[in-house]
Point group: C2
Chain length 286, copies 2
């Protein structure tokens, strides 16, 4: 039987020294000048370069599928190259795809993006409820993969829906949290954490406490740290008392931490990844 995702994740985080993740969001206009060729080729080379810079520093990377899909079939192959490179370097790959559909279609997404040789974990959208998530959970259970369901997103506009108050007193985001917590009970590993985790933005620290209480067994994938404004203090509430339970992800503040014309762009990315790791290790040691 495949090893449980959360157990694999914590082992990788312990080995690296902190539960952090580098987002791979390649945007053509921001790539190092040294990378040449067709758009998809440059995207692939940049993604593989980020993987090389991050390997041995952080436990996980999170490719943003939108950045690859932008270049169609070629972009998809670029994503596959980055995925393969990350696995070769022993990094856990969280495919940031935010997929979600009715069950039959979710099953196809799970088969394509997550099963077997696919990513180690996938972000998924919760608007369709449990039956839209179940096919993903089935694959996660079978293949030792993980999921992060959107609960509280890091963007300003997320409040318009996620913060609305229900007549029973819960916020919409909390109601989603309850759906995730319940479905997640079906796939808890030896560490006490579920293979079905939750996306909880670092820019919403006031909500993280309440969501942590509702989802004690969920791994929180925490975007919004760095470029989007979330601070090290902001992310503390995402962790449980065991100092587990969250993985903090930063993208632009790490992957674009270079002078575009510098030849040593990977060194700058590696230094930024080290800082990310040490910042979060610092938060957890206090």
């Amino acid at each position: 039987m495949a090893e449980h995702f959360a157990d694999r994740l914590w082992a990788a985080c312990d080995a690296a020294g902190a539960p952090v993740c580098v987002g791979i969001d390649p945007v053509l206009e921001r790539l190092p000048a040294a990378l040449r060729g067709e758009p998809a080729e440059r995207i692939a080379a940049f993604g593989v370069g980020i993987v090389e810079a991050a390997a041995g520093v952080v436990p996980a990377v999170k490719p943003q599928l939108a950045c690859f899909e932008r270049y169609g079939g070629e972009g998809w192959r670029a994503y596959e190259r980055v995925l393969d490179a990350a696995k070769t370097h022993g990094l856990i790959v969280i495919a940031d795809a935010k997929r979600g559909d009715i069950g039959t279609s979710s099953a196809h997404y799970a088969a394509g993006l997550l099963a077997g040789d696919g990513a180690d974990a996938l972000t998924v959208n919760t608007y369709l409820g449990s039956d839209g998530l179940e096919p993903f959970v089935d694959v996660a259970k079978r293949d030792g993969k993980g999921l992060f369901a959107l609960v509280r997103t890091s963007n300003p506009g997320g409040d318009a829906l996620q913060s609305l108050k229900l007549e029973d007193g819960r916020r919409v985001g909390e109601a989603v949290a309850d759906i995730v917590a319940e479905l997640g009970e079906t796939c808890v590993g030896a560490s006490g954490y579920s293979a079905l985790g939750a996306v909880v933005g670092a820019t919403k620290p006031a909500d993280a406490d309440a969501l942590r209480a509702r989802m004690p067994r969920q791994v929180f994938l925490v975007p919004g740290f760095g470029a989007q404004g979330g601070t090290a203090e902001d992310v503390k509430a995402c962790f449980n008392k065991d100092r587990r339970g969250a993985i903090i992800t930063a993208s632009r503040s790490v992957i674009y931490a270079f002078d575009p014309d510098a030849a040593d762009w990977q060194d700058a990315v590696r230094s930024a990844a080290v800082k990310l790791r040490d910042d979060i290790a610092g938060v957890l040691s206090r």
Copy 2:
């Protein structure tokens, strides 16, 4: 300036005789025996075959991206072949991708899937609120494209979130409808309809009236007709009094309407598409 999506859509629906759409959800196990080759090749051949069978009968097709993405880069090329074939045959293409992310990532999805040579319209997810939708709307305005934001989905589990009651009396799905209606005001065409439409499942007829009232300018994309259980009577509430305002989509009941071993599978699909068109034309003539 590009012609407005809703104006194009109504002209195509009038020419075809009814506002209907055939979903293209190719599943390997259900393809005609006559189609041979690698999975992605068979998926492409089937999709193109559906396009040929539907052309001249219905105004629009809706490829389900999950079914193509399942086969990675090759699957993506298969989708591109179906897209090209549909455009060559004069069909409006609604890419059923249900994408949605923070603004910067949504902009990449919009650029890859919708802009320029991309699909005519795209389904998008509303959980991240307006700023996750705006980049799609910007492309829709610029290039005469359309969007269908998930409001009320056709799957049984959608109720768990979408039917929850807010303290102000609205349901969650109605709150999403209000976000969509407001943002949609920014892109209304000559027909009075917005380029930002809404997905409203045929399996939720009791909700369609209330959603129609909240979203008078939204084109409703109505899935769930046929295989998922929605009937012709169920979809009536999705239309406005002008008998406009909705496009009814059926997938499995049309595209798999053949004996797998029959050589004339396209004839059977065409007959099922004619029946779909005539059923909906019948509802609108009463």
